[in-house]
Point group: C2
């Protein structure tokens, strides 16, 4: 491609609303243009990246035996009513009416339609296993679309759905997809991690997320650098940090801690380590009949730890949801304002659940249920009953891994997710097949998503510098750009550039020849912003010595390359990237 | 691909609602499945056809210098308000509201968004010409979606938009697209015609349709077999069939024609040729102020001709629309019921417009404005004033072409349309650039559509037989299918089939190996229905003689091919298709 026949339009400044690097850089490089909140046009350079990602995903899905089809963007409400998600999905599901006032949705995902297809198409165990996927426009009506392609409303997703006879076969389909994802993200040239994850609103019993590692990621990944353990912090089991509870050696003392509603302040006032303190979180669950008073729960974690909301939501008794207790409920239960609450002698009965670590603490410090006072020297069994125990906290970096070594934490961007669904959707839509015994059985399903457009953003979050994007070769909009110095002035430069351009095109390299009449500094800055992996500079001075300059985007310095060896050198450098 | 790893699910019967061949065959072959009215899933075999069409379109668009981008499906209402189409488009434009009650549309086409992009991206004449296109999901909320992919609601369209400095350059861009379309439809392997066409609701001053020839097409194409003239009947100029008006040799006679409200009956009663009769059509246009009485128009065409509504709509005075006159208006104007109306002495003044041919008739027959009576021997100038003259009728097959030869008519399916838009949208959205003189000028636009999914249906309407589809090689889901007779019984057959399968794959042929355990008759019928261009039968009997059977889908008989020469023979036969 010649730049003069293409559309390149970079901006000096990103729009004020662009609050993450990828959004800023894609906008500045002219890869995306906003049409409405969370809705973008993929401009030519941006679309090239998107298509390259799509093609790698498609090739590996096909290689894994998945079969591509294409389900519609607009889907009838009936199927969503049948699955129950018409009610459950919430406001992110964009519901629309056609001219006859019939209800439809813009698909955020396609479990319903594919299960409807499966119940019509799959009759016999002989047809199984089957895995269908499509790469299609999705729509999720985010309340606050932000971060550019990272959390847009209209986006491109690959979603696959596997159908199997039984759980064992479904697990094999899941494993096949897991392996295909490893291949996909490896080929994309991104640093990533497959992590055990919560199943969330999609449901099912098992799932892994594929996270692109980036400091700006919204997810926290717990992993063990010495093993292959990795899990989303939402799910990662937190070990107890105290193997055996020590003896009760201090006496229980009510100590004045004025203006100390936080563990950090208490510890400082009492000149004790933060790890001697216990934090109290008061939650409430409604009575099943909706009439009796709510149950009040007191969750305890160590002062230096943070509550894991996902873990809390899975506690027995929390099946129908939970909430933070109101200030009135707290006053009524503890006779005290928040900030000084604790498990010792609350005014009314409360269910106390202690995190594993808290349950093993001795001589600890907690609120005295009296404003401005804490207890020190608190001991389980002596000063209060033994608590219920559960994993309530987020892992912290450095926590020991019970399997050996220590846990580390890094940030990631979720770009893929595989779910073991079981019969959740096949049951709701009565999708059965005739099994070997001639009897109908429910299809066992898995579903597997990859955020195509989000990958582009994640790649930038992971790979960029002050000058712009640094694309992995596999998904760069172009692999090589030729920058002739003085296109309009020097026939020698023009001829050398044209020759190399032809050679590279013939060698199948995706090459851009910048034949525009712009200043070298501007030209270099544009291609560094756009992040093309290899830049070749063709100038009169170099040509006199018979050399071109090869600059890899990820390298510090440029290399001089003899003109005659340029093609070989470029291809070799590309291969090494 | 191996059939056992693929999803092939053909049906014996098409659904009752499938009323055209392509809908019936695509459903029976398992290429599409209905999700809702006018909304389909492209099943694996159908998607392959769609992608092949897309790729040919993409390649030729790129070759013509158009640049691909991707505009969103969901577009903000603001832009449609700005262009005026939010009001004008009617119910086919699906209007939706997001969770914040903001208005959006599902794009039926993207003039607004691309013009918005252009006004932001194009600053200088130096950037022009530019042509952007995308291949994207479209939605048109048809009142009565029907004919499968032919008139669906959700469909795939390629739409391109050119931007130029001036009309001459815009015309060159238009011509470039016209030529690209010729290449595209030639490569698709379809019989087609580029025809001059009306610009309709898109607007602009010039347009051509690309019509796939098929007896089941909805459009009528007028063409001259001896020249390159071709036009949609909506637009095709109808010649006068009478060069010079003959003398008034009959006297005007009011003749009883009881129960003869139609020209055919009148001609039969009076024993005169139908070509001596004149048909009266009474139209009305509202007064500009909406208060004065409507104007009544009497349009006259020869008894054997049909009114062309599009031509009528372009008459001077019809700019703000027209309608058929009501029975009351007719009674009031002519003092007579419909069926016996004519231009001679109506009760009240009426604007008479005669088709060219009618204006040249003498001694003709028309209604006498008295129920049950017609005039014979009517002559212009003598019995009534000379009329206004216009082209009002549809061309009929056999009409002389003023340029020589005669006109013929055939049916077609519109699959592409190129429009010269001028500044219609750039004016509405104020899309300007700085011209060579440094002053802002409006961008001159063209737009160019291709119905990707409709092409699949049109190809079937053009190419099918009693057994199923007959795909052109370029867009067939697979090029070759290998049908082994007795896969599970004969190792010889299995080995020969596998060898050929490997050879064909290595040669880059898109081949399906049908390794399913099904009866030969069923297997043959399925692949004939699906319409794969070349079928190879591998059987024990043939192998004993060292031969395979090669059956082209479009051939009557199969050919025997020595095993050793099979690859060459298949590749050669494919090339000739």
């Amino acid at each position: 491609m010649r730049a003069s026949s293409y559309h390149i339009n970079t901006l000096k400044e990103a729009p004020a609303e662009a609050d993450v690097t990828s959004h800023q850089l894609m906008t500045r490089a002219g890869m995306i243009r906003k049409v409405a909140g969370g809705i973008y046009t993929y401009m030519p350079l941006g679309l090239r990246v998107l298509r390259k990602i799509e093609n790698i995903v498609r090739e590996e899905m096909n290689r894994a035996g998945a079969i591509e089809l294409l389900m519609p963007v607009v889907q009838p409400a009936e199927l969503w009513v049948e699955s129950g998600r018409w009610e459950q999905y919430g406001a992110e599901l964009l519901r629309i009416k056609d001219r006859h006032q019939r209800d439809f949705v813009l698909q955020p995902t396609s479990e319903e339609v594919i299960t409807d297809i499966a119940r019509n198409e799959i009759h016999s165990w002989r047809q199984l296993p089957l895995n269908f996927y499509h790469i299609q426009t999705k729509f999720r009506d985010e309340r606050r679309p932000r971060f550019g392609l990272m959390r847009g409303r209209e986006f491109t997703m690959k979603d696959a759905y596997s159908f199997d006879r039984d759980a064992a076969s479904a697990q094999a389909s899941y494993d096949l997809m897991y392996q295909a994802y490893i291949k996909i993200f490896t080929r994309l040239g991104l640093e990533f991690r497959a992590v055990a994850a919560d199943t969330g609103s999609i449901g099912g019993s098992r799932s892994h997320e594929f996270q692109v590692i980036a400091d700006t990621g919204e997810d926290l990944i717990v992993y063990n650098p010495d093993s292959d353990y990795a899990a989303n912090i939402e799910l990662a089991a937190a070990p107890t940090l105290i193997a055996l509870r020590g003896a009760a050696s201090e006496t229980l003392v009510e100590t004045a801690t004025p203006d100390a509603p936080k563990c950090e302040i208490v510890a400082a006032q009492l000149k004790r380590p933060l790890t001697d303190t216990v934090k109290a979180i008061v939650l409430a669950t409604e009575a099943a009949d909706g009439k009796a008073a709510p149950t009040i729960w007191l969750l305890l974690i160590r002062g230096d730890h943070s509550l894991n909301e996902i873990k809390a939501s899975k506690l027995a008794g929390f099946e129908n949801g939970h909430r933070f207790a109101t200030e009135d409920e707290i006053l009524d239960t503890f006779g005290c304002v928040p900030g000084y609450l604790g498990p010792v002698n609350p005014r009314k009965p409360v269910v106390v659940i202690a995190d594993h670590t808290v349950a093993h603490m001795n001589n600890f410090i907690c609120g005295a249920n009296r404003e401005g006072f804490h207890y020190t020297g608190v001991n389980w069994g002596r000063d209060l009953p033994e608590p219920q125990v559960a994993d309530l906290r987020n892992v912290t970096a450095g926590d020991p891994d019970p399997q050996g070594g220590h846990l580390a934490i890094q940030r990631g961007i979720e770009v893929g997710h595989v779910f073991f669904l079981g019969d959740k959707y096949s049951k709701a839509l009565d999708a059965t097949f005739l099994d070997t015994d001639g009897k109908p059985a429910l299809l066992q399903m898995g579903c597997y998503g990859i955020g195509i457009s989000r990958i582009a953003a994640a790649a930038i979050e992971q790979r960029h510098d002050a000058r712009g994007m640094v694309w992995p070769k596999a998904i760069a909009p172009y692999e090589v750009v030729i920058c002739p110095m003085g296109w309009n002035k020097s026939e020698t430069v023009r001829n050398a550039a044209e020759t190399l351009y032809r050679e590279l095109e013939q060698a199948g390299v995706e090459v851009m020849l910048d034949d525009r009449d712009i200043r070298p500094g501007v030209m270099f800055a544009e291609w560094e912003l756009i992040g093309v992996p290899v830049r070749i500079t063709v100038g009169d001075r170099g040509l006199k010595e018979g050399i071109l300059e090869l600059q890899a985007r990820s390298d510090e310095a440029a290399a001089k390359v003899p003109v005659a060896e340029a093609l070989t050198a470029i291809v070799k450098r590309l291969e090494s990237l």
